[in-house]
């Protein structure tokens, strides 16, 4: 109403004036959610009981194993390492199982107790709620790990490990714990009931982490032979870190890469949670846009880096393979950004910021069309950043390896194909979202459509011409050529074969490019229509109010 309230109005950002985050302020005004969570945590018996039980279980496991090994033919050093691996694997298992489940109840608990809405109504920034819940759960399990830590002392009794092993073992736990807790919080923000949240958390993170841990254990072999490691089991990396932290390969692959992946997952899950806490009418996509920029940088760096790592003999193929694989992140971007309401949030803080920032917000900010615009650029950047960085990485390390330009043609055609398919998925999904008004429906329909587009032509071409697939190196069957993965086959073929296959590059490109354009145009038309309807409704409401006021005037009831 008044000028003062216009300027202090900020959606979801507390009622005080906006202030910058600084460490002293944070210490003076810690996140209220975090403080409250920790406070009530230590007052519940359940938590104390959980501490007892978990230390008891892990302790029994480690001590019985240690006792058994001590009596066996193992050398003390071997036994020490076995105890070490057992302790950390058990701790990891415990965290992977319990931490996401615990975090998954953090917001649903408030929803069920009826405190959630009161909290939202305080106007506290959803990001602070989510951070508070995340940090609290993280701290709780940090405490569990601390309570467990004396058990690792048993490994020291046997020897064979250094303090460095232990420190990096705990660091490894933290790198896994953070996404585990963040996933739990994200689930918690998105569902209503604790039961569903628990099920979702238990069905997602523990199985995924089991797969991850076994892959990690498998990687131990090649890593062991490359870096001369002696330790077996999933925590081999602690030895690599303890003995050769600053070896470039170790630093990149065992320090930077896991930190980046863990950090990106935490960021993604927390952004999901924040978007879940925000009301639907507010801006939920900007967080993901920042995340996407960081993901793009990482993607480009990884493609260039791994191409460089590959060694002369494989560099060409690895670069093409990685560019193909970037279709994964591209489809992820499409899936993220297809769920955007047609109009920007009504409370968009468009009055604030410099002119240039307002302009940027208009181009790429909230709302279906700007978001699709942003995602389209991100998709192009992922496709070409990948392809170009692969070329550059290869050229820098192994000059003259492009084999008559064939690899480069393959890279460019794969990149173009990725762009076309990614844009198609994006614009199709965004259009469906706006028509059906459901992000869930848009995502499911898009995935189903992509699946059908891959499976159906493949089946048909198999039935029509069973031998066609065998001749793929000469020419791609027409059926395959219209699938959204055709460009991957073509790219693979180009690299093995010098004949010109331009029509095979062009057909999927033109097909999906045209479809993407079509849905983009449809989307823009639809958004215009929605805007018209909303404006008409608003005018109608004004008129109804005025008419009512006129009608009420004569008897003048109730108004002082």
């Amino acid at each position: 109403m008044s000028v003062a309230s216009e300027t202090t109005a900020k959606p979801g950002a507390g009622h005080g004036p906006a202030r910058r985050w600084t460490l002293p302020r944070w210490l003076r005004e810690p996140n209220p959610i975090l403080v409250k969570e920790l406070r009530s945590m230590f007052r519940t018996k359940r938590f104390v009981r959980f501490l007892y039980v978990s230390t008891g279980l892990v302790g029994m496991l480690v001590i019985s194993l240690g006792g058994g090994l001590a009596a066996s033919a193992f050398t003390p050093a071997q036994a020490g390492r076995a105890v070490y691996q057992t302790f950390f694997s058990a701790a990891l298992g415990l965290l992977c199982l319990v931490a996401p489940a615990y975090a998954a109840t953090s917001l649903t608990g408030e929803k069920e107790a009826g405190t959630y809405e009161s909290l939202i109504l305080t106007g506290i920034d959803p990001a602070r709620i989510v951070w508070g819940k995340f940090l609290a759960s993280f701290a709780v399990f940090g405490l569990v790990v601390v309570a467990l830590s004396p058990l690792v002392g048993l490994a020291f009794l046997f020897g064979g490990i250094s303090p460095g092993h232990v420190v990096f073992g705990f660091a490894g736990l933290a790198v896994v714990l953070a996404p585990a807790v963040a996933l739990g919080v994200a689930v918690s923000a998105r569902v209503r009931s604790t039961r569903v949240a628990l099920l979702a958390a238990l069905a997602s993170f523990p199985p995924a982490s089991m797969v991850g841990a076994s892959m990690l254990a498998l990687l131990g072999k090649p890593a062991g032979s490359a870096w001369g490691l002696t330790m077996e089991g999933p925590f081999w990396f602690a030895e690599a870190l303890a003995t050769q932290f600053f070896h470039p390969d170790v630093f990149l692959l065992v320090v930077l890469l896991p930190l980046y992946l863990s950090g990106m997952s935490v960021w993604f899950f927390l952004a999901t949670a924040i978007a879940g806490v925000r009301p639907a009418a507010e801006d939920r996509s900007t967080l993901f846009k920042w995340w996407t920029l960081a993901a793009l940088a990482g993607l480009v760096a990884m493609i260039a880096g791994f191409t460089g790592f590959a060694g002369r003999a494989d560099a060409a193929e690895v670069s093409v393979a990685l560019t193909m694989a970037s279709l994964g992140p591209i489809l992820l971007f499409a899936l993220i950004f297809m769920n955007e309401p047609p109009l920007p949030p009504r409370e968009a803080p468009s009055e604030r910021g410099s002119r240039w920032r307002r302009h940027l917000r208009g181009l790429f900010g909230p709302g279906a069309v700007p978001t699709v615009r942003f995602a389209a650029l991100a998709i192009a950047a992922a496709a070409f950043g990948g392809a170009l960085s692969a070329m550059a990485g290869r050229e820098a390390l192994f000059p003259g390896l492009s084999e008559g330009g064939r690899t480069d043609i393959a890279l460019v055609s794969v990149g173009l194909g990725n762009v076309a398919v990614g844009l198609f998925a994006l614009t199709f999904g965004a259009y469906v979202r706006v028509v059906l008004r459901s992000g869930m429906a848009a995502r499911i329909l898009t995935l189903v459509l992509l699946f059908v587009l891959v499976a159906l032509p493949l089946l048909v071409s198999l039935v029509v011409d069973p031998e066609g697939l065998d001749r793929m190196d000469e020419s791609l069957p027409w059926g395959l050529l219209v699938t959204p993965i055709a460009h991957l086959f073509v790219g693979g073929a180009v690299i093995n074969d010098s004949t010109s296959r331009f029509h095979e590059i062009a057909v999927p490109l033109v097909l999906y490019g045209a479809l993407a354009l079509l849905f983009w145009v449809l989307l823009e038309a639809r958004v215009r229509r929605v805007r018209g309807v909303v404006e008409r409704q608003r005018a109608l409401q004004e008129r109804r109010g005025e008419r009512r006021a006129e009608a009420a005037e004569p008897d003048a009831g109730g108004e002082p």
Partner: protein
């Protein structure tokens, strides 16, 4: 202060509100009454920005709840029915937590919490764990929480629900006190006696339709144009009712079960004076004049059909 303009709402197929209009002027204590399922909570949640009206609009202090929810939240305190509290905190911790969530800085926080505790008489309980408090005290705590950011408007859903008579009287005093502080208060109930002595104006809702709205005094008149005054006379001579019947405002006169004359009339209270004057002029010996009880309960029972939804 609050305008509800042509609001309709449905949950799936179920139409819950039908074109509801009303206005709560600043400084009123506004009672929102209706049987279970009438749509009271739905309407109040719209005021509190927790629900967007499917049709029509709700303005609080001039802000549209669906367009500027953050501004509405700044001027409005909402206590939901069946509110939850954090059991493991003490009263002070609980209020400090919410004060911090409202963005009240550490310097002002303790002061605010103390002021609010004093207002709601929670001071003696400051170190009590919430889980060890009675229902009435929790209700107070929930109201205290809504006061932390000094809102202009308080929206309380069933504030007197489940309170014993004493706690209810204390609640009434608290609401009167809040009104004196200049707050506009909207409260809902389906038990009319809970409200009748707290509110200045009411709206009656049934099955999502507004039956009546206005100041407590007027609404009886509006809903039940005819009122009754009972006259007790020393004796009742034949034809004693005739002079009263002749008055233009009087609609009927009859003998009640206890022998009193029940005089039905239309219009304002002044008519009662006319009736008494007419009785005295006719030399009837009037012992007692008593308006028939005309409280909200009575009105409510008459205008609603008492069907649950």
């Amino acid at each position: 202060m609050i305008r509800v303009e042509g609001v309709s709402h449905h949950f799936g197929q179920l139409q819950v509100l039908h074109d509801v209009w009303f206005h709560v002027p600043a400084g009123e204590v506004f009672g929102f009454i209706g049987p279970n399922g009438a749509g009271k909570t739905t309407t109040l949640r719209m005021m509190a920005t927790l629900l967007e009206p499917a049709e029509g609009r709700v303005l609080v202090d001039g802000y549209d709840v669906s367009e500027r929810p953050a501004d509405v939240r700044r001027v409005l305190g909402f206590m939901p029915d069946g509110f939850g509290v954090y059991d493991n905190l003490t009263v002070t911790e609980y209020l400090e937590f919410f004060a911090a969530s409202y963005g009240i800085g550490p310097e002002a926080r303790l002061r605010t919490v103390r002021a609010v505790m004093e207002l709601t008489d929670l001071g003696p309980l400051e170190d009590r764990l919430v889980q060890a408090m009675s229902k009435g005290m929790k209700q107070r705590l929930a109201i205290a929480r809504t006061l932390l950011h000094d809102p202009k408007v308080l929206v309380l859903d069933e504030p007197a629900n489940g309170l014993d008579p004493r706690a209810r009287i204390e609640m009434r005093d608290l609401i009167a006190q809040l009104r004196q502080l200049g707050k506009t208060i909207v409260l809902s109930s389906h038990i009319l006696t809970e409200l009748s002595d707290m509110v200045t104006s009411v709206a009656i809702l049934e099955r999502g339709r507004m039956l009546a709205t206005g100041p407590v005094g007027d609404i009886g008149e509006k809903l039940r144009p005819e009122r009754v005054v009972r006259l007790r006379l020393a004796d009742y001579p034949e034809g004693c009712d005739r002079p009263l019947r002749d008055l233009p405002a009087v609609t009927h006169v009859e003998r009640g079960p206890d022998g009193d004359l029940r005089v039905g009339y239309r219009g304002k209270e002044e008519v009662v004076a006319q009736i008494v004057r007419a009785a005295v002029q006719a030399e009837l010996s009037v012992l007692r004049v008593e308006p028939e009880r005309d409280d909200l309960e009575q009105i409510f029972l008459e205008v609603t059909k008492g069907e649950l939804q």
